[in-house]
Symmetry: C2
Subunit: 224 residues, 2 copies
């Protein structure tokens, strides 16, 4: 597999996880990559020939077992490099992804395994995304969005979408992974969630609060 193919199987895997649907639409892939639908179709044909994907016309593509294995290898490399870049080199949160996006294609199996041990076999990357082990086992990512909390909830951030503007937005406010937020108010109509963090209040728009995931630790609200 070359860089292009690697990025395709990774993207297919990630979009399937995001939507919960194993089949990913050609048009959605094109949209995500910023490529034309025709280009995506051509690549799908090639991936199919290599038995990395199953293509059902008018339904989408789905990774084969081999494709899934390759996708997990790329995700593993990507996330391990993110840990390295953050923990060891001290790169900023929002810089990790694009560096890892290059390094992931330049990493042999041997380097990957040693890097994994060197970093202490981390379970998640710095955005809270789970890191597959060498056998391709991967934990479920934290899936409860901050937006689904209620006034009074205490919420620990366990995962954030690896989306640069979001990361810049959060780090500008000194909010990091594992931080705890107290939900003050949720304005359903306006879609604004007001939280407290280290004594400061922040108002998050719905689309922001939907990209932050974690767990509710405790709640002062009355259970219905």
């Amino acid at each position: 597999m070359n860089k292009a193919e690697e990025d395709y199987v990774k993207m297919i895997y990630e979009m399937a996880v995001l939507t919960g649907e194993p089949y990913v639409k050609t048009a959605d892939l094109a949209e995500q990559f910023g490529y034309s639908v025709q280009s995506v179709n051509e690549m799908i044909k090639k991936l199919h020939q290599k038995e990395l994907v199953d293509f059902r016309p008018y339904k989408g593509v789905c990774l084969t077992e081999g494709g899934r294995r390759e996708a997990l290898r790329m995700i593993r490399a990507h996330r391990l490099w993110e840990v390295f870049l953050s923990e060891r080199l001290g790169l900023a949160w929002e810089a990790l992804h694009e560096e890892a996006e290059m390094l992931e294609h330049a990493t042999s199996e041997a380097v990957l395994e040693r890097l994994y041990d060197y970093l202490g076999r981390p379970a998640v990357c710095n955005h809270g995304n789970p890191i597959p082990d060498a056998e391709g086992n991967i934990a479920r990512p934290a899936s409860r969005p901050l937006y689904e909390t209620h006034a009074g909830d205490c919420f620990r951030i366990l995962r954030v979408q690896d989306y640069k503007p979001l990361l810049a937005y959060l780090s500008q406010r000194n909010i990091k992974l594992h931080d705890v937020l107290t939900v003050h108010d949720k304005d359903h109509f306006g879609g604004i969630l007001t939280v407290e963090h280290l004594g400061l209040k922040h108002a998050f728009a719905k689309h922001i609060a939907q990209m932050v995931y974690g767990e509710v630790l405790s709640s002062t609200r009355l259970k219905k």
Copy 2:
């Protein structure tokens, strides 16, 4: 610069260092890369347009100041990754080069600088090749070949050619950088150099002893 261009300027730099001649012949580049002369000519034309090289027909190519800077950046990345892979991940001597050959193209300026500090600003890679600093200053490599020693000399290995079969050959004999060899005998006609290392004797053919560089520590031989 893309991967191909990066490998070209690096190669031009390295061949110029090796030969001592600033101008590198098209045919020699083709030979080293295993490409056709025509392909090399095409790339030279492009590098010239980008003002990375000066091309003198029938003489060869020479890096411009900009080309030299880019070459040193690649060499810096390559050798720093070799240090990382060796010192931190414990990769075998002979595996370093090909891994670094990929990683060097996936490394931003920011990562490079942090990696440099993280590794303690090393002066040389694991083959003894000097690592340029961020400003492009680079030390002269050790240049005295083991083959130019005489019976009785004590010789410390400071640099070896980054050539896989040589590295495998040496590490199989437990010979590493900074080890000291005692020259027992030099057979000029046969070209065999006999040395002692950790109590064991080794016979090195001329072409081997010419790829190992270092310093003579002391000598029992009579000065003429």
